[in-house]
Amino acid sequence: MNLKLVSIVYIFCICGISCTASNEDTSVLPEGFVDATQRSTHTNNWAVLVDASRFWFNYRHVANVLSIYRSVKRLGIPDSQIILMIADDMACNARNPRPGQVYNNANQHINVYGDDVEVDYRGYEVTVENFVRLLTGRTQNGTARSKKLLSDAGSNVLIYLTGHGGDGFLKFQDSEEITSQELADGIQQMWEKKRYNELFFMVDTCQAASLYEKFSSPNVLAVASSLVGQDSLSHHVDPSIGVYMIDRYTYYALEFLEKVQPFSTRTIGDFLQVCPKRVCISTVGVRKDLYRRDPHKVPITDFFGAIRPTRVSTDRINVTLANESDFIADPDEISANKRPFKIIMEPQFPSEFFK
């Protein structure tokens, strides 16, 4: 009976709130803004882009990560909110016939290692420890601000990983690996510390789907280039450089992203369908069960760009500055309101029994 009453009251309250919301003057706000606020709850965007493998013959992984970097930067995430980890320096590798340049395409149209690339973790700094510290915010004292993921409860975070993976792990630097469990724990910790609002996890390695298997944190959407037991393959070779240029999944993902403009209406749902098996050879794996929204209604710029609802007003708005007294209460009043109290300590041991 009591429960019923509570629920009735609850429903009534909700109705009341919604009524009051609808009763507010929404006509001032543009329609699109209302829709956007109902859909998206984030206030800022962060991206963590990681290439975990080194050596010249893994040129393609560097090209992968730099291409994604280029896309997210183009769509508006500033360098200060992109953490770029690259395990080896392909541009300055002595074997590179085009010194200082990295291409993601045999046509060599775009030098993805352009003038404005800011690498935050390079070479041997790319370790599992640094990566986990970065995610969980437990960076060592003295870490530069540019090397920290300073996200908050309103941040949408994009994590992109590429390298050589296996069933349940991703190899870092040819010497260590991060397991899917460690990754899941790191993300759970991020959630507990309110370091993200929504998280998009994208990984291009062999058996990539094994990496998101252990995730249990809410608001996580994950996509992987291949299922467990499958290899992710490279797309093509540039015979003038002599290496594989880019991986298949990332290639088709980029093809999609290149067409996205900052105010595009493309959704994450569309993005999850890139690289079908016919072109990818591997099957792209998606994990949606932790994500509460419908991906087909989420604009891609929620993760790959930094487009926030902005209200443009041509009217005059009164902004009254608050007085200091509004914030600082009178100390006398506080002490007057203070009620006397007494602390009673419960005995820790049942000592009365032994008297």
Binding site: W56, R95, Y244
Partner: protein, 672 residues
Amino acid sequence: MGLLSDPSISTQNKLVDSLAKHVRKVCSGFYVLGVVWLACLALPEFNHGTYLSENALSPGLVYPEIRIDSNRLASQLLEELQRERKEHKSTTPHAWIAAKFNEFGLETHTHNYTLRYPFGGGKEYHGKNIYGILRAPRIASTEGIVFTAPYRAPTSVHPDISPSVPLLLAFADFARRKNYWAKDLIFLVTEQEQLGMQAWLEAYHDGDRVMNVSKAYLLPGNLPARAGSLQAALNIEVQDLEIDYVDVKIEGLNGKLPNLDMFNLVQRIMAREGITSGYKQTLRKKRRSNPSVFEKNLRQMLSMLATQSSGVPNGNHGLFHRYRIDALTIAAAKRQTHATLKGNAGSAAVPLLKAIEGIARSLNNLLERFHQSFFFYVIVNNDRYISIGDYMPALVALVACAFFKAYLTWSTLDFELQPAATATASAETQSGSEPDTAVEDGLPYGSVLIYLTAVLLIGYLGNVLPLQQYFLEIPMGAAPLTTSVLSFLTLIGFILPFVVVLPAGGLELLHVGFLLIFGCSLIVVGLLNFALGFFVAVLTVPVVIALETSEKNWNGSMRNLTRLITLLLNPMVVVYLIVLCMSFYQFPELKLDKLLLRAATAAMDASAYGLIDCVIYGNWLYFVVSTVFLPLWILCWTLALSKRRDIADYSDYEETQRRKPKPQPQTKLKTN
């Protein structure tokens, strides 16, 4: 308490007894198993297809950029070189080569070395290598790749390979214009075949070390410039710019091989450039001879093992392996098929140049030395191989005979000797003297140990004596000197069993000792050089199986046959027979008496070369033959003769045997 020394554990049980009766059958079974195993590996079901396991190599991902102008340069240089060769009949045109290296902008240096030939009073030879270094433009000089071309003077007895130098120069000129080298490239022209190469390698690695100059035979000197640790080397031997096929030579010093990845890399790049290439590649055979796959594979395998077994490298690449540098030779043969058709001389060498470029770029991609693929393998076909895990059991099965027999001989030793010992003891007590200590000891360990040591010492002398200052000063060639020393030692070994006769039980103990040493040395030799170990095992294991010390189960004819075969298996005789066979195949027109004579001189030369190889290049074939195989033969000969000390003792023993016809059940009762 040790299992073997525990007296409470009897070595005699029913299984051992029954096995001891059939030891020869079991051993023959092992022998057949080993040989059949190896033969089976030639079947496609038992060998594997080759594959590249080093990711870093990424062969064939680049388009070759070398163009026809490099070919033009090569043929122009070849013309110049031919003109130089007319003036330098027996020497190397060092000045011309160095000038060309300089012209192409390489860091050019000359390397001088001296050989002090020790035999016949001693002589000194001088030699000179030219090398140019192309420094990697954007990286420290910590690693290098070597491209070498041996130069042969026109007077050389070997086939003319002078076009390799222009080819090397043309590639150097091309490589200098490229900015992607991550390793220094060394272009090296050596002379005097392997001597120059060996001197250069020693100078490169140990040149700056202070050496005791008075004792060394090869004085390598020092190099003025180096290029870091050498990762790989490619030796180029080209007979003509217009080529028919490429033979990839891989066998190195002491049967070592380059990593299988390197061979596969060369094969893959050659195939890409459309060059017929392969291991032991020859001109295409007549259409009529069409052997089965098995036969072809088996031939290929055996010919590879035969090349490896001598331990002599079949090209300059072989000397690199000693320094843990993977190297091989691409020997391109002059065009013979369609020789009448005028080929396009303007672009004849382009495929080969492209292949060299491709190999160079793949080696340039290496991040560390070759380590992913096999170092021990047998190639059965150009794209099929046998790994060490598959071929080693063949040798193990052969050697198992020795250990198996040793165990059975050892476990029946006690039991055979016990009656004899008790008999002598009883005889002695009857005559009133106190029991001898030998009876308690049972076996004459001491004298057998001394005998073994003496025999090993004879072998060691064979290794040391020919190099003594006293012998070296005799004005005698290396061949007669070595042969006479070795024959002398063999003669001592031959006489030894007639002079020194072991006490009772000594032969049996010696038999066990011989079997153990034989097995151990064969397995060690087989691990270092499988081919040598296997061939020696195939030849000798039958005799070892046949050997028997007791007269019981060894009838007269069998014994005489074993003695004869043992004599034939003397290392000196084996060398002579091998040389005889080879000269028969090379000079079939000779008459028998001349052939025998020629083979004798050739065998003498062979043993001298073996010694020289040993002291200059570090080939241990001579060492193994004189220090291991010769003593083993002496032991084998001793056992084959089976001389016993005292006939009276022996008859006594026989008598006791007859008197106590069945000692077997008694011992059994005791032990059980």
